[in-house]
């Protein structure tokens, strides 16, 4: 079924919207959630939450690119759940590795800059990613948006895991420099 049709069903408050959405995008959302969350059960619950969130969001929202919209909703919900799990000390998995890697972009410690709005940071990161060469951008997004394992990224891009690690390493260094240039005291 076309995305427009699914969105139309959501707008009409037709229950089949969730059914069709789950049928078409169930695995896609599950793979994103599973990349962040440590267990299958957590990922499944997260995906179920995604359908509910989408049901509550459309209308009024009308996504232009439905797959990306679903990816963002799933990712945000998975991140919230990951934080709750980490508070219970049940964390781990690929997300833990990703957070550890991103620590390299920081110098540690709290500063007043922490108070800068999340929106400003998002804009800055978006500018940074948009300016990356295409290959680096794709690898950065696969790792830090979709939380895919390094080996899988290597497979997708036809590179060795070592090459991917080196590219990610360079990206993190560039991001650190970019954020510092933007006035973030890391």
């Amino acid at each position: 079924m076309k995305d427009e049709k699914i969105i139309e069903l959501f707008e009409k408050r037709d229950d089949r919207a969730v059914e069709y959405c789950a049928e078409k995008y169930g695995r896609y959302c599950h793979s994103i959630a599973a990349g962040i969350l440590p267990s299958r059960e957590d990922a499944e619950e997260c995906v179920n939450d995604t359908w509910l969130r989408v049901w509550n969001s459309i209308p009024p929202q009308k996504p232009t690119r439905f797959s990306a919209f679903l990816a963002k909703v799933t990712r945000n919900l998975a991140l919230d759940r990951y934080r709750a799990i980490s508070a219970e000390k049940r964390g781990g998995g690929e997300a833990a590795a990703v957070f550890e890697e991103l620590e390299e972009c920081l110098s540690g410690g709290s500063t007043p800059e922490e108070e800068l709005s999340a929106e400003e940071l998002a804009r800055s990161v978006n500018d940074f990613v948009a300016a990356l060469p295409r290959r680096e951008r794709e690898i950065f997004i696969m790792r830090y948006f979709y939380v895919r394992p390094v080996r899988e990224i290597a497979d997708t891009c036809g590179l060795t895991p070592g090459n991917v690690s080196v590219i990610l390493n360079r990206c993190r260094k560039k991001l650190k420099t970019h954020l510092e240039t933007e006035g973030y005291e890391l």
């Binding site: 690119r65 978006n126 080996r151 899988e152």
Partner: protein, 315 residues
């Protein structure tokens, strides 16, 4: 600021930026799945033909896999009404769940059947652009239910062919010296690179195994554990020694636990269809670094089959 703040900021990337990456991932997913479907079809048909010698049995298998058309193109139909990312989600073993996957046992061989395709049906019509997530393509769609069979599940294999000339001690030392700054930058100053390494056997889509001595992996230790590795390699027809250093990501803890469980044993290293690393212990048990354990080899015979002086290592 915490790393989670940056992670959250990445989650707000413009959809246009995500679009190209998503398309790349989905395109690759289709490519991989197509290769895997063909592999399973060819291997399964070959095994049945060899062991039973019955044309009818081959037809029976072919009825459950995409129909191969003239010119070698495969049209996968009706398989893909889903949208999924590459790799893990199609392998229930990796996440430890079966999902909607359906498998059919044919002559002792497990053949995957797409979840929404009637068993035994031939596959000849595509479902159209929107339903096959990547649009129309000569690749066809993707399978949502197939899983690569374990190494030992198909049939006996021919021992690996060994190729490549290997590396001299001087070449290995040169690479270690060259990679030292990168390793130190990445994991700190406390590390040690093994001057001994191992090649891998690679079981390709035709179920042929090769050990390429022009690929050599050297473990990198820190705190008594493997934290990364350096791979030395030569591009065919080129004498220059290239190298790449891998660290971070998942898998290292798993590798260390496998090694801890097999101290002093000769482990056989391999790659399965270029997709993931496999390690076979002397008792024939196969391991992957993705968190799933599986008996890749049904008995120790397969350990002997894949073992050569070049793809084994004792920790």
């Amino acid at each position: 600021m915490k790393s989670e703040d940056i992670f959250e900021a990445v989650g707000k990337l413009d959809e246009e930026l995500l679009k190209e990456t998503e398309e790349l991932m989905l395109k690759e997913n289709k490519h991989i799945n197509k290769k895997r479907i063909i592999s399973i079809a060819v291997a399964a048909a070959a095994c049945i033909a060899l062991s039973v010698g019955a044309v009818g049995a081959v037809r029976s298998i072919r009825g459950n896999v995409p129909e191969a058309k003239s010119g070698g193109e495969v049209t996968v139909s009706n398989i893909d009404t889903e949208y999924s990312l590459p790799g893990t989600e199609t392998n229930p073993d990796i996440y430890g769940y079966a999902g909607q996957d359906k498998r059919q046992e044919e002559g002792g061989i497990t053949v995957e059947t797409p979840s929404d395709t009637p068993s035994g049906g031939t596959l000849s019509e595509t479902t159209g652009k929107e339903d096959s997530y990547g649009g129309e393509s000569e690749d066809g769609g993707q399978s949502t239910g197939e899983i690569p069979p374990a190494v030992g599940d198909i049939c006996r294999y021919i021992p690996p062919k060994v190729k490549g000339k290997g590396f001299t001690e001087a070449e290995i030392k040169d690479v270690i010296t060259r990679e030292n700054p990168t390793i130190a930058f990445s994991i700190g100053s406390d590390f040690e690179v093994s001057e001994k390494g191992y090649s891998h056997f690679n079981l390709d889509e035709h179920w042929m195994s090769t050990v390429d001595r022009d690929f050599l992996t050297l473990p990198v230790y820190s705190g008594g554990k493997i934290v990364g590795d350096i791979t030395l390699f030569r591009v065919e027809g080129d004498d220059e020694v290239h190298s790449s250093f891998a660290y971070g990501g998942g898998g290292w803890d798993k590798l260390n636990s496998i090694i801890d469980d097999h101290k002093g044993a000769e482990l056989v290293f391999g790659y399965y269809e270029n997709r993931y690393e496999i390690i076979i212990a002397p008792d024939g048990t196969g391991y992957t670094l993705l968190g799933n354990e599986k008996t890749f080899a049904r008995d120790a015979k397969d350990y002997e089959t894949f073992k050569t002086p070049y793809n084994t290592f004792v920790f």
